[in-house]
Amino acid sequence: MAEYETVVGLEVHCELSTRTKLFCGCANAFGAEPNTNVCPVCLGLPGSLPVLNEQAVELAMRIGEALHCEIRPSIFHRKNYFYPDMPKDYQISQYDEPINVDGLLELPDGSRVGIVRAHMEEDTGKTTHVGGGGRIHEAGHSLVDYNRAGVPLVEIVSAPDITSAAQARAYVAELRAILVATGASDGRMEEGSLRVDANVSIRRAGSDELGTRCEVKNLNSLRSLGRAIEHEADRQASLVDSGERVTQETRHWDENASRTHSLRSKEEAYDYRYFPEPDLVPLVPDEALRQRASSALGLMPAARRARLQAALGGAEHARALMDQIGTVIELSLDDLVLAASAGGADPKHALNRAANELASQGERARALDPVSFASLLALESSGTLSATQVKAVLPELVEHGGDPAEVARRHGFEQLGTEELESAIDGVISASPTEWERYVSGDARIAGFLAGQVMKATRGRANGKVVAEALAARRAGVSAR
């Protein structure tokens, strides 16, 4: 089998987090009762006129700036086609004069993916196929909910610079983080806020020519995206190896069957007869708009990574640490880690607890008071609380707040008194005299067993480090005699 390279370009549709639709005042809300957020404009009734949502423009410009695009004067076009999800029989989109062009996205590994354009358009309604197990070709009929019709989208089209499934996933993950950081999107792939189509082709390794591409749809998660690209590249490679040609077409990813299947051939491609939307005037990003968009732009993920790396001391870190950094940035816990570090916590310690224990607490973990987080970490590093105890205290701090020492006491985690610890050790020595003898005579392997017995006797309230020290001190006392 010949050696091939995979070439991928991605189209990401991002629903903007506005209160209303792109051209009318209907609410932009996920999960509303069907057909309750519709009006004459988004239903395309005669005599209605679209008016552009200013906030959608600002969010589109923030995306353009975050992706280092040229933000330019643009106009809207009508893209004409007949399909029940578009009640107007055309979609208002941007065609040859989009708002953002020629951008760039840098991935955490330093590789760069070009952004061809990021244009504004309206979303379509949602169709449900009834009968035939919900599959389109076997359905008896379809039902349409127009709540989504007219919701503002920005479609971000990458250059075919992506060369692997892993890089495609990294691109979407980084793009998602950027979109969330700009405030343009909630980034929820499972709710369809971000929808990804992949243009996949292969070429002989080292070649500069682009092969015939297939567009793969129905990629609802990063996992699907990666798997679909791998399968599609394999399919194309076997075609070429057996002397056949790849046909340019749209293919549907079937997650359960782990394969793509053909939807329609591009030969019968739609002729959209684009023409300028006569009901809308040109959009010119003037200085005031640019100012507003860039001043609203938060710190981007790359800058936040760099900031966190600096706090951890240096830019080069082990893979495991980079994964933890990625996690806290994705969950927006990096401010908390930095604040706790500024409050005296060890940055690596704070990062570790944030990336593991706090990450499992969901979005509310962001609201944790950094001072209380820092004091909890201090209790752990001083040995007052064990790691297990810290993990038990954290969810309660996230839920109700409060003083960590106080919460620990309520859990019965107060530090074991020296007297109580010593009497627990007495108990273990008389219960396990043989093991104790081995320990005293220098068998280090038995230390863990004895410590475990002490932990058991104190019901986990003792600190492992303190127990080990107490045992060692006791042994030193015995040997000295």
Binding site: T18, R19, T20, C24, G25, C26, A27, E33, P34, N35, T36, N37, V38, C39, P40, L43, V51, L52, N53, E54, Q55, A56, V57, I75, N80, F82, Y83, P84, D85, E97, T124, T127, H129, V130, I136, H137, A139, H141, S142, L143, V144, D145, Y146, K217, T250, H252, L263, R264, D271, Y272, R273, P276, P278, L280, V281, P282, L283, V284, D286, L289
Partner: protein, 99 residues
């Protein structure tokens, strides 16, 4: 001089879902060709100094604030549908995915 063929006219009619009788198609093919000739005449003008016009009005940036306005009553919306089911518009079996 650009003339369009009857096949091209038929294609355009099909895209617009117009079911034209043969006589109508002949007539429209002629009219479309006349339109193209008119555009051809305009193209002969020197427009090097004229900026592209996207809209007849000298306006740009007409915006609406991002404020929710009441939508239509659902009963009113669904009354316009030929058929409904589960508060949605019922449409015949769809052949193929959305473009």
């Amino acid at each position: 001089m650009e003339r369009i063929s009857i096949d091209e006219a038929r294609h355009v009619a099909r895209l617009a879902r117009l079911d034209l009788a043969d006589g109508e198609l002949d007539k429209l093919t002629g009219e479309l060709s006349d339109l193209l000739e008119h555009v051809e005449a305009i193209r002969r003008l020197d427009t090097a100094e004229v900026p592209p016009t996207a809209h007849p009005l000298p306006l740009s940036n007409v915006f609406r604030p991002d404020e929710v306005r009441p939508s239509l009553e659902r009963a009113e919306v669904l009354a316009a549908a030929p058929a409904t089911e589960a508060d949605r518009f019922l449409v015949p079996r769809i052949l193929g995915e959305a473009p």
